[in-house]
Amino acid sequence: MTMGPVHYFERDKFQVPQDYIRPDEVDEHLQRYENAIRHALKELEQIRDLLLDHLDEDHAKIIDAQLMALNDSEVKKEVTGIVKKELKNVSWAYFDVMTKYETVLEKTLHSYLQERYIDLKDVKKRILHHLSAKGDYTLPQFKEPAIYVSTRITPSELIHINQQNVLGVITQIGGYDSHAGILARSFQIPYLSNIADIRQFIGHENVILDVDGESAIIDASEEEIRGYREKARIFAGSRRRSMKSLGESKTKDGIPIQILLNTSFVSEVTAIDPSEQQGIGLYRTEFLCIEKNCIPDEDEQFVAYTRVVRMMNNLPVTFRTFDFGRDKLVEMLDLDMFHKDDFFQDFGGIRFCLENPELLRTQLKALLRASAYGPIQIMFPMVFSLEEVLKSKEILRQVAEKLDEEDIVYDHHIPIGIMIETEEVLGDLENVANEVDFFSVGTNDLSLFLLGTSRETSFARNDYHPLLYGAIEKAVRTARQREIGISVCGEMASDPLALLGLLAVGIRVVSINPSAYQKVFEMIQKIDLNAVEPLAEEIREAESAFQVYQVLKKFHTENLRDGG
C-alpha cells in the first residue's frame, strides 16, 4: 500500500529536446547518429541470432525487416539534411523524420492483417535510446518519489525506476503473474494492473494505491488519508515484530506445514535470513535471462546458481528449469511486435527446452555443478506428457555422465520433480509419478488451463474454483500413493483463504512470495487442521468459485478472525 503523486509516462511520446545547434556541432551530431545506428544494428543482430538459434528462420526474418528500416538510406538522407540545413539537434531531426514516416505508413503497415509489419516504434525508440544519454528520452525520469502510471511497464523499465524511488506502479495491461508483476513483488513495489482508464490519474497529487484491496483512490479525502497512514503504521509495526521470532511453522494442533519461498533473483535471496526460513520452493531461473536480455552461458549460470545455494546455507533450493513462453520470451527480447504473435502460445516450458536441447543441457550442467555446494532439487515446468519427462531425464542422465567423465563433483541424488500445470499431465499422473521424486502444483498456469482464462486478468477469484481444488486433491492422492513429495507454489498459496482450502485437501508444503511469509506463518499457527479438513467435502460439492469462497470465508470468520 502506498500514497503519493502520480508520474504519468507516455510510452511513445519521447521527450526529445528541441534545441538548435551551432554549425560547428553538426559533425559531432552526425557522428552520434552513425554510432547510434551501429549500436542499434548490433542489438537487433544479436536478437536475430537468438531467434535463429532458438526458434526458427521465419522469426529471424522479421528482424531482417527491422534491420532494413533501421538502416534506411532515405531516412538517413533526410535526417542528415535537416541537421545540416536547419541546424536542429540530431535527436529532434530523427524524431521528426521517423514520426512522419510512422504517420504516413500507419495505414499501409496495418492494412495487411496476415503480414508481419515493421515495428517502426521499436526502430525509433532504439535509435533515440542510443542518441540520448543513459536513455533520458526513452526511460521514465522521476523528479520526486511518485507512483508510475502507464499503459504497461517492461522489466528493464521497472528495474530503472526501482533505482529512482518509485512508490508504486499502475498499468493498463500487465497482470499479477506477468513479469512486471513478479518483479514488482520481488522489489516490494505495490503494483496494480488492468486499470482501463489510466488517464484519469494524470496530475493527481494524492493517490492511494491499495494492492490488497485491488484499488487506487484518486483525490483521497482527509479521512482516507488518515486511514492510510494508520494502516501503514500498523503494517510497519507488525513487520518489525514478526521478523524476530519465527521458528517452526506448525498448526495449532501441532501438524508441521512447510513454508518455502518463491524467488527470481539472486538479490532477492540475499535479503533472506536463512535462520528464519525453511528453503526455496521455486527459483525462477528464466529471470536470469530477463535480467541480462540473453541466455547466459554455462559458467554465468553456474555462478548465479551457486550463489543462491551458498546463501541459503544448507537449506534446500528447488530450481525450476527455464520456463519460457510467449510472454517471457517476448519480454526478454523486449520487442513490441511479438506481443501479437500467436506462435508462442503453446510453446512454453519444458517443450521449448526440449526443442532446443542445448539450452537444457547447458542449464542442467550448471545446476549439477552447483549441487556440490548445497542441497538442491530440479523441477521441469509446463509438462504435458510422460514422454517429455522421460526425455528430460535422459538429457539429465547424459549430462551427469559427462560430468563423471570430466571428474567433476556433483550431488548424485538430486530429487527431480515436475510442475503440475497442465490438464494433460493430470490425465497421466500415476505414470508420471513413477518417474519423479516430487510434484509441485503451479496453480497460476493450471487454473488458466483448467478454467480457460487469460493471463492478464486478476487471479484472485479463480483460485477458489472447485475444479482447481479437485485437480490438486487428485495430485495429493497420487503423490501419497506413490510416496512422493507434493507442494503448491502458485500465488494461491499466499492467499490465506485459498490456503485454508489447500490444507483441507491435503497440502502440507507451500511455496510463497517472501512478502506473504509473515501473514501465512501467523495464520497457520492459528489453524486447527482437524477442523479444516471437513472443508474438503464442501469444496468438492461446490459448484462455483464463489461458493468455495463463501465456505472458506465463513470458516475464516468463525475461527480465525481475532486472536485465537
Binding site: 531482417d64 534506411d72 538510406s73 514516416y101 499501409t108 508481419r116 515493421i118
Partner: protein, 88 residues
C-alpha cells in the same frame, strides 16, 4: 539511365515482404535505383520509401536504373517482379 515498366503481381501489392526482397536486391547494385508510381519517384534502396508508395496489386510501376550495372539491374529486378519476388 534505363527505365522499364513492370506490373506488381503479388496478392497484396508491394507490401512489407516483397518490398524487403526488392530492397535487398536493389541494394546490391552500384547503379542508383528508383521506382516511379503515381507521380512519385522514390529511392528503391529505401524500405520505408517503397512502403510509402503503397503499390496496389496489379498496378504498374516504372523501375529506373542509372549507373554502371544498370542493364543487369533492370533485367534482374524485372524478372524478380515477374516472379512475384519468389514469394507466391
Amino acid at each position: 539511365m534505363l527505365q522499364i515498366p513492370v506490373k506488381i503481381l503479388n496478392k497484396h501489392g508491394l507490401h512489407t515482404r516483397p518490398a524487403t526482397v526488392f530492397v535487398t536486391k536493389a541494394s546490391q547494385y552500384k547503379a542508383e535505383i528508383f521506382v516511379h508510381y503515381n507521380g512519385i519517384r522514390i529511392n528503391a534502396k529505401s524500405i520505408l520509401g517503397l512502403l510509402i508508395l503503397a503499390v496496389e496489386p496489379g498496378a504498374e510501376i516504372v523501375i529506373e536504373a542509372d549507373g554502371e550495372d544498370e542493364q543487369q539491374a533492370i533485367q534482374e529486378l524485372r524478372a524478380l517482379a515477374e516472379n512475384k519476388f519468389n514469394l507466391e
